[in-house]
């Protein structure tokens, strides 16, 4: 039986030589977590199933720095590696793949040019294209939206881009369905309402999207402890859960989280 995946996310600041992993706390305080490939090796030892490297600086000039980070990581870490942030065109994707990445994640560029999803899927395969969605709750009924019931009332979910700084008016559930049709292989779904709060994943958002598509959904945003991961993997059809700070700052190891999940009845790779 296919295991649910646990994916540490490495937010990389590539503005320093060789890059460094950082974690923002509610978009303000930035904490320094370590050197990307050293953390990657540690997560491999702990039993992580996959790693995501996000370039939070997302600038064109830093693409080569990310390539170096991935090259260095892939010398010693043998698991699927995803690169995101600043992937705007096929050439950016190719740079990432040539450095050792298995998948690229796209967000802003795909919202502006949805054909990018088709292109990446065509050139590198569906499995190589992860669509990242940053979604925010919008309460109140609106025509043409996918409405979802939540304990706080009925809402729809709006996609944002440019790292959460701007909103698109696009319905996240509809966008996920379109992305699957265009050939995306995974949806990395981040709740903007929960990101950085440590209050737990947005269960209603994750359930709604993972029930609407037939490709794997990676739940992201809000993880504060292993119970949150158990909740989202047990109560929704999400195939994977992503977390950053609980792993980076040594609160829990991946192994501890997996042991907790196994006892909770979730099938994980031990």
């Amino acid at each position: 039986m296919l295991a649910k995946r646990i994916i540490p996310c490495l937010d990389c600041d590539l503005g320093v030589p060789h890059g460094r992993v950082v974690k923002g706390v509610q978009f303000k305080q930035i904490r320094y977590a370590g050197i990307p490939w050293e953390l990657a090796e540690e997560y491999d030892r702990q039993g992580a199933d996959e790693l995501i490297f996000l370039d939070i600086t997302a600038s064109h000039e830093r693409r080569e720095t990310m390539a170096k980070v991935i090259e260095k990581t892939s010398e010693n870490v043998f698991m699927p590696l995803t690169v995101g942030g600043g992937i705007r065109a096929i050439a950016d994707a190719r740079t990432a793949f040539n450095s050792g990445a298995d998948k690229v994640s796209v967000n802003t560029a795909a919202l502006k040019n949805p054909g990018l999803i088709n292109d990446i899927a065509k050139y590198f395969g569906n499995q190589a294209c992860v669509l990242a969605i940053d979604a925010k709750r919008r309460y109140g009924r609106e025509p043409g939206r996918e409405m979802v019931d939540t304990p706080d009332g009925e809402c729809w979910f709006e996609c944002s881009f440019y790292g959460g700084r701007e909103f698109t008016g696009i319905d996240a559930i509809q966008w996920a369905i379109e992305a699957e049709e265009r050939g995306a292989g995974d949806i990395m779904l981040t709740s903007m309402d929960r990101d950085g709060t440590k209050d737990g994943f947005d269960i209603e958002l994750t359930a709604a999207v993972s029930d609407s598509v037939n490709i794997p959904v990676i739940a992201s945003g809000g993880c504060g402890n292993p119970e949150h991961i158990l909740e989202v993997l047990r109560d929704t059809n999400a195939s994977a859960a992503l977390a950053a700070s609980i792993f980076h700052f040594g609160e829990y190891t991946v192994g501890e989280v997996k042991e907790y999940l196994r006892k909770g009845g979730v099938h994980v790779r031990m």
């Binding site: 039986m1 296919l2 295991a3 995946r5 491999d44 199933d49 090259e71 892939s74 010398e75 010693n76 043998f78 698991m79 699927p80 793949f97 040539n98 450095s99 050792g100 298995d102 590198f124 395969g125 569906n126 499995q127 190589a128 292989g185 995974d186 037939n214 490709i215 794997p216 195939s239 994977a240 790779r269």
Partner: protein, 204 residues
């Protein structure tokens, strides 16, 4: 020296790094002449992409590949690089190499396609120390990414299976031909162990 066949579909850095990591001496060969010149002790056909594209790009290698297999050189096929060893695939009209009898068919509906992630092996036989799966246990996980799976005609070539909607052959071996559906180069320690076993086999 282990020749990794580069047939222009995706980067080979992972498989190259992994083979080097476990003590192999991998060399990437990009055309049939390089494969002939390489005097390879073993051949790896890596894999990403579709069956039709893979066969189109691999055809120029076929004469040399058949020679190597006939002379007993160990061959490891990974993912698509494994599916092309069979006779035909539902994915394409292109003919496979036919080194293994059987077909490649689509994973039936009812599960998410592609299968993408870590799944368990069920071993069909006890491993000896010299086998590809030496040190691998029932229930060990490996990383799969595929929409099609292989159905060998001869059940006896199936060494291990995995369950994804149906019970499918995950590892197939026939004489010097070794074929795995998962990506050992992406399967962390257990994947490296399989590659190490392959490297050891080559040295023997």
């Amino acid at each position: 020296m282990i020749a990794i066949i580069d047939y222009g579909m995706g980067n080979l850095r992972s498989i190259h790094n992994a083979l080097a990591k476990v003590g192999g001496n991998p060399v990437i060969v990009s055309d049939s002449k390089s494969l002939s010149d390489a005097d390879a002790d073993a051949v790896v056909i890596p894999g990403v992409g579709s069956f039709g594209d893979a066969m189109r790009n691999l055809t120029p290698f076929s004469d040399k590949l058949f020679d190597l297999v006939d002379s007993g050189t160990p061959l490891l096929g990974i993912c698509i690089g494994r599916q092309v060893l069979f006779v035909r695939s539902e994915e394409s009209d292109a003919a496979g190499f036919g080194l293994l009898a059987g077909d490649v068919i689509r994973i039936p509906d009812g599960v998410k396609i592609p299968q993408m992630g870590w799944n368990e092996l069920t071993l069909r036989r006890n491993n000896r120390d010299t086998d590809l799966l030496a040190g691998i246990n029932d229930g060990d996980f490996f990383y799969f990414v595929h929409s099609y799976y292989c159905v060998p005609e001869d059940e006896r070539v199936i060494v291990a299976t995995t369950d994804y909607g149906v019970d499918m052959a995950a590892v197939v071996e026939k004489n010097n031909i070794h074929a795995v559906q998962f990506h050992p180069e992406k399967s962390s320690k257990k994947g490296l162990l399989i590659l190490k076993n392959f490297v050891e086999m080559v040295k023997c």
